[in-house]
Symmetry: C2
Subunit: 404 residues, 2 copies
C-alpha cells in the first residue's frame, strides 16, 4: 500500500552537472547527444521556409518533448507548438509555453477536464489551447467538460477546435466533405468551443521516398481539404486556418496557398528515416543533429569479425529501421545490427575491414527521432562538433513518458 | 548554461496517489497495469521449478527494473538479481537490493569506478557485486579500478568475476575452450577479483518456437560450458558456478546438472512473444500479468471498419512484434495494427464483425515486456482481475532509462 519514494536520487545527476564545459569525450555511454550547431542551422532553415511562404510554423513538440527547445522555436518565429497528448501539453505549460495545439482526439472525461484546466492556466499569459475532434460524441464530451470547468471555476475560457479530416493517413479524422460540415455545424452550437479550422495531416506522405509520390499524395490532400473548406464556408462558417504537414512534405503544403500552418517537427533533429527520402529540390537540406553516443564493449575476430556496442533498442527506437553509424571518414563505415535491448552488433561494410577496438566511441543516427528522444531523460547539447566539441547545456526531455 | 529544473512536478503524481483503492476503470489510459494475482502465481511457479531442481534462481531485473519486485523475488527464494547495466545495479542498491550480478561487460573506466563503489556500498549489508568479462583488457581495466578504489577509500572489497562464454548467442562472450582458460588464469592474478565461474547464456534459444529446437540448442550450450569448465578445473582452478538460462529454456538448464543458477526474468510478467513458444511439457505454465490499458478515441465505419486506440509504440516495445489484444470472450477478438508513436489501429479478426465503441477500454499484451516496462515510470498493480479488480499498489520502475 506504500507509495513509491519519488525522492530517490537519480544517481546520474551529479555527473550531468559536472559535464557542462567538458569536452565531448567526457560524456558517458550510451547517451543522447545534440549537435547544437547543426540543430540551429535546421531551426533557421525551416523558419526561413515558413517566412518565405508567409505561412505559420507550429512545430510538433511530440518530437523533442522539451519546453526549452519549444521556446527556442518560438523565439525563431514559431507561433506555438503542437503536441499529441494532454500530458505533453501539461509539460509544455509547466515549462512556460502557452500556445499549444493538441493535434489529436481526446475522449476520456478525466483528460478533457485537464484540457479545460489548461485553457485557464494559459489565459493569463495571453496563450490558448486548441484541440482536434473527429466525432459528434467527441465534440459533446469536450463541450460538457469545458462547461463543467467554467461552472466549477467561475472563469469563462474557450478552446479552439479543429476538425481533423482524413486525407490519406487512414488513422483518425472524419472523411472530407459532408461529414466535416456536420461537425462544424455542431461545434458552433457550443459557446465554449471556437471553430478554428481543419487539420489535414498526411503522415504517410512524409515517408514516401520519391518527391513525385509525395507531390501526388499532398496534391490529393490539398484538393480534399479545399473542397471541405468550401463546403463549410458555403454554410456561412469561416474556416480560419488549415493546419498540417510534416518534415517530409512541408515544402509542398507551404507552397499550396491552402494550408496556413506547418506542423513539422523532425526537421530540428533529422533522423535516418527522413534522410532516406529523396529530397525535393525545393526543400531545405536538414542535417543530422541527434546522435546516440555509444562505446565498444566486446570484440570478436575470426572469419566474420564484429564488435559489440553498449546501445541497444532501449536507447533508440527501431520502428523506422535500425540506426546508421555516423561515419567521420571513408575508412570508418560500419553497419549496425540489432543485438537486443542493450547491445548493438557492428560489422564492417563491404570493402572496409577495419573494426574499432575495445572502448572505441561511436555515434549512431537514430532511425526515428521522436520515440528515441522519449527513451531518454535528457539530451546533452554539444557546441563545436562531435569530435572536438564541448558540452554546453543539458536539455531535459520534459514530456518523456507523457503518455496520457 | 542553466541546469534543468529537476523539481518540476510530474503532474500525474496526485492522480497516482488517489488511485490506490479505486476500481480498475479509474485508471487513465494508456497505462501499464500489473495483474498482481497472475504475477504472484508466476513467481511461485518459477520458485518451485528452481527448488525442485535444487538450483539457484537469480531473476533478471533488466525486465521489471523495480527494486520492490526484486525484493519480492528474493523473499520467494531468489539469491539476488541480475542486471545488464551499472546504472541498473545502482538503482537496485538504492532500493535495498544488495546481491547483484551485472551479467554484461563493462569497459569504461568511469563506469568501472561506479561498479567498484557499489562493492563498498553493499559490503556492510553482507551483499556482493558480480560482473562478466570476456577479454584480457576488460579484466585489467576492472582490476585497475578495483585497486584505485581500494587505495582511495582505504576499504578492501572484492568483486565476483564470471567469464562469459559464447554458447550460440553470438553477441558478447569468449569462445568456449582455451580462450576462457587463459582469462581464468588472468583473473587469478588480481587479488581484488574473485573468479566465480562461467556465464553461458543462450538468448536466441529462448525464442526458438519448438521445444525440440530449444533442447538441441541448450544441449550444445551445456556441452560447450561443461568442456570449458573441465579445462579450467584441470588447471587447478575451481569453477564454482555456471550461470545462464532465460524463461524460454530455464527448464532445460535447471535439469542439466551443469548449470547452478537460472537468470530468467520474463516469467514474472510473460509477454506475447514468449507465449508464442510451443511449451515444453516440463515447463510451468506462466500467465500474462502485464498489460497496457488503452481506450478507443476514434471510430471508422465503412467497408473495412476499424477503431483507433490511444496506445502506440511510445507505450509498448515492438522489437518482438506488435501487442496482442487481450480477449475476455470469443466475441471480442481484435487485431492490433501499428498506428505510429501514439496510436494503434484495431480491426475485427475473421468471423467477428463487432468493434468496440468510442471510449471503450481495451487491454494489450505487449510483444516484449522488458523494453515495454522501460517506457513507463510506474506499473499500476491490480488485485482481483482486470475487469472487477481494485488498484492495490503503484510499483515504481526504479531503473527506467538506466542506460549507462
Amino acid at each position: 500500500m506504500k507509495m513509491p519514494d519519488k525522492t530517490l536520487p537519480r544517481l546520474a545527476n551529479n555527473y550531468l552537472q559536472t559535464l557542462i564545459g567538458q569536452p565531448v569525450h567526457a560524456i558517458d555511454t550510451p547517451a543522447l547527444v545534440l549537435d547544437l550547431d547543426a540543430m540551429e542551422r535546421n531551426l533557421a532553415s525551416m523558419a526561413a521556409l515558413a517566412s518565405q511562404h508567409r505561412i505559420k510554423l507550429r512545430p510538433h513538440a511530440k518530437m523533442h518533448k522539451s519546453a526549452a527547445l519549444a521556446k527556442l522555436q518560438i523565439a525563431a518565429g514559431a507561433v506555438g507548438v503542437c503536441v499529441q497528448k494532454t500530458s505533453e501539453a501539461e509539460a509544455m505549460v509547466a515549462g512556460g509555453v502557452h500556445d499549444i495545439f493538441i493535434s489529436n482526439e481526446v475522449i476520456a472525461p478525466l483528460k478533457l477536464a485537464r484540457v479545460a484546466a489548461l485553457t485557464r492556466r494559459v489565459a493569463p499569459h495571453g496563450g490558448k489551447i486548441a484541440i482536434c475532434v473527429d466525432s459528434m460524441e467527441g465534440i459533446n464530451r469536450l463541450a460538457i467538460c469545458m462547461n463543467e470547468a467554467r461552472l466549477a471555476s467561475g472563469v469563462a475560457t474557450s478552446i479552439d477546435v479543429f476538425i481533423e479530416i482524413n486525407v490519406g493517413q487512414n488513422r483518425c479524422g472524419v472523411a472530407p466533405g459532408d461529414a466535416a460540415v456536420a461537425l462544424a455545424l455542431e461545434i458552433r452550437k457550443h459557446p465554449a468551443l471556437n471553430f478554428a479550422g481543419l487539420q489535414a495531416y498526411h503522415g504517410k506522405a512524409q515517408h514516401m521516398r520519391s518527391p513525385a509520390e509525395r507531390r501526388l499524395a499532398i496534391s490529393a490532400a490539398i484538393a480534399a481539404v479545399s473542397q471541405t473548406r468550401d463546403l463549410i464556408q458555403a454554410q456561412g462558417i469561416k474556416v480560419a486556418l488549415i493546419t498540417g504537414a510534416g518534415t517530409g512534405s512541408a515544402v509542398l503544403e507551404a507552397a499550396s496557398g491552402v494550408y496556413g500552418e506547418l506542423q513539422a517537427g523532425s526537421y530540428l533533429f533529422m533522423d535516418a528515416d527522413y534522410a532516406a527520402n529523396h529530397p525535393d529540390p525545393a526543400q531545405p537540406r536538414f542535417e543530422h543533429a541527434l546522435f546516440v553516443k555509444t562505446q565498444v564493449i566486446s570484440c570478436h575476430a575470426g572469419e566474420a569479425p564484429y564488435v559489440v556496442c553498449d546501445a541497444g533498442h532501449k536507447c533508440h527506437a527501431i520502428d523506422s529501421g535500425l540506426p546508421k553509424v555516423h561515419a567521420f571518414s571513408e575508412r570508418s563505415t560500419l553497419e549496425y545490427a540489432n543485438g537486443g535491448d542493450e547491445h548493438g552488433l557492428l560489422r564492417p561494410t563491404a570493402g572496409n575491414s577495419r573494426l574499432p577496438g575495445l572502448g572505441s566511441l561511436l555515434w549512431l543516427i537514430p532511425g526515428h527521432c521522436d520515440p528515441t528522444v522519449n527513451l531518454h531523460d535528457e539530451m546533452i547539447g554539444v557546441r563545436g562538433g562531435l569530435l572536438k566539441g564541448v558540452v554546453e547545456r543539458i536539455i531535459t526531455v520534459d514530456a518523456r513518458g507523457a503518455l496520457t
